[in-house]
């Protein structure tokens, strides 16, 4: 039997793969893909179901009552009503139907040593800082890519604004709740699934290619065609940190910071003006190139400081 120690370059204690999938000597790539699909279906369907129930409980009367106004007004009102149920359903379903099933699949199919398998292991503070700094450099680039497609498609500003309503907060209390729902929850749950399970399992057969596959699938899973490229690139970058560091922590930190900056940029005063104007990352083409160069430099440094994991 393969041992975890062989798989993780000596970063975890020697453990055997004793899950049902491993015992049957089945295809490991198949396990990664099927596991991801099962959890994806489970999460998507239950999230929709929970949202419908919450909308029905909270605001079905309001939804029915609001029939006047043009398309924009109705869309804006519906989004406003869906905002809270969606936040609750994301929070509940990510933990119950993404986080827990991932742990269950690892335990059932692969090994009882779940934390070792998904690579919950310590890394140096420097590795963490460089990963986060690279992610910050990437944010204006990803924003630029998304904006490019939005402009090409002539998406009206008011429509884009309505779409960001779910991430917008108007009080400190709401901001903190959003940090929990939009920053902490996906950073833990999505990273555990996409990197801790999917990429980790693919890596056993495909090596470095796994980070690109996991990154692209990460982009596709969000079902946002306009953000597909930027999300896939972000996924690849997080995958790179996971692959090089042999730890899930940089990915969690990067995902958290990426979402946190988005949430902070949409923290508004009661008059509608943003509180932290510094987090508005709309930049020029030249600025984007400079950010990319910085990011490349940081990734190179990351490559050097994580070389020890490959010796």
């Amino acid at each position: 039997m393969e041992s975890l120690v062989k798989q993780t370059s000596g970063t975890v204690p020697s453990q055997n793969f004793d899950g049902s999938w491993e015992r049957a000597h089945r295809n490991i790539t198949a396990a990664a893909c099927i596991g991801l699909l099962i959890i994806g279906v489970l999460y998507m369907y239950t999230q929709t179901f929970i949202t419908i129930i919450l909308v029905f409980i909270n605001s079905s009367g309001e939804l029915r009552a609001f029939k006047s106004g043009n398309f924009i007004e109705r869309f804006s009102h519906t989004t406003e009503l869906l905002k809270n149920p969606l936040r609750y359903s994301v929070f509940i379903s990510q933990f119950l139907f993404m986080f827990l099933p991932t742990l269950w699949i690892v335990k059932r199919w692969h090994t009882v040593h779940i934390l070792s398998y998904v690579r919950i292991s310590r890394i140096s503070f420097l590795e963490l800082v460089i990963a986060v700094a690279a992610a910050i450099c990437f944010i204006p680039v990803s924003g630029g890519i998304s904006n490019f497609f939005m402009k090409q498609l002539n998406v009206p500003d008011f429509l884009a604004r309505i779409n960001t309503q779910i991430f917008t907060s108007y009080s400190l209390q709401e901001l903190l709740w959003l940090v929990v729902v939009v920053c902490i929850t996906p950073a833990l749950c999505e990273e555990l699934l996409f990197r801790g399970y999917f990429q980790r399992t693919l890596e056993r057969t495909l090596g470095m290619k796994s980070l690109f596959i996991a990154g692209i699938i990460f982009g596709l899973y969000h079902m946002q065609p306009l953000n597909l490229i930027s999300l896939a690139l972000l996924g690849c970058m997080i995958g790179y940190f996971f692959y090089r560091s042999k730890s899930l922590l940089p990915g969690i930190a990067v995902h958290f910071v990426n979402n946190l900056l988005a949430v902070l940029s949409l923290y508004k005063k009661s008059d509608g003006n943003v509180v932290f104007e510094t987090f508005d990352f709309e930049i020029t083409f030249l600025g984007g190139v400079v950010a990319l160069v910085f990011m490349g430099g940081l990734l190179f440094i990351y490559q050097l400081i994580t070389q020890k994991n490959f010796e």
Partner: protein
Amino acid sequence: MNPPLLPLTLGDIFEKTFSLIGKTFFRNLLISAVILLFPIILMAIATDAFYSSLADMQGSILHSRNEPGLDMILAILGPLTFFGCTTIIFALGVLLAEIAISIIVSQEILSNPITFFDALHEAFSMKCLYGIGQGILKYLILIGGVVIVGIVIAILAAVSKVLMGLISIICLLALVPVLIYVAIKWYFALTSVAVDDLTIIESLRNSWYLVEGHWWRTFGILILLYILSNFFIYIISLPITFGSMWDFYKEYFTILQKTGGNIDPQSVVQLEKSVGPGIAIGSGISALLSLMITPVFTVVMYYDLRARGNVGATSKQQPMIKQDTSSEPIDLSNL
């Protein structure tokens, strides 16, 4: 003659399907592309023509504020017929591709891999006619059941409306499970034609007996596999469909930008004209992706059911396939 096979667990079915998709992917893609390229182009033209004439009709109605006249209905009848014909051609193409892919997958399971050209050659034989025949017969019987129930309801409606309502509900409640039951029992008819070269009636009988005693298991696994594969197809085809409808969305957002949400119904009607090709391309891509997965798990399940029938089949349940029990059983886990 085929040697007997070993039954599979759910995990085995998942894994074998995945492995076989990987092993046969390019051949299957080539087959699907060769067979479906022309129908997809044809369907895109037909969908475009249909939506354009539909938009013209809606535009005239909006303009004159009258009910659609006979001339309007006749004007849309041509594109509608063309659309219907291309849809049938497309469905036949999908069926042919399914036969060819099933042959490839089956030969792969039997450790006798064949080229896509051989599979195509085999598919364009009597198998093609039997496949179409079983499909037509199957759906005629299923639809026939619905029609008979409809006639009964119509007769009752003439007698009493209360009675009609009551009977309609009872009939619907009874009909849906029956249709599902029969559809599952005949699910492997096309695979029987492709893999075992059976005729129309033989394939339906074979599928019926194969599922005998394993109906709930087959139903559950099929539902699960369909949900998983459709989810995969959806996430892959979403950006492709979005891209193919780029011009439509761009125009829509431009109108939205200009009007601030107060869209003129005439503009929406004009927009409809550009939606056709995008829908056809999206449907085509989804069908192509579906063909990469569905026939594969169907063949895997077919062999699994054959193995199960082999273990405990009574003479009544014995499938049509005659198996050579003197040979070593094929263990699909070796794939």
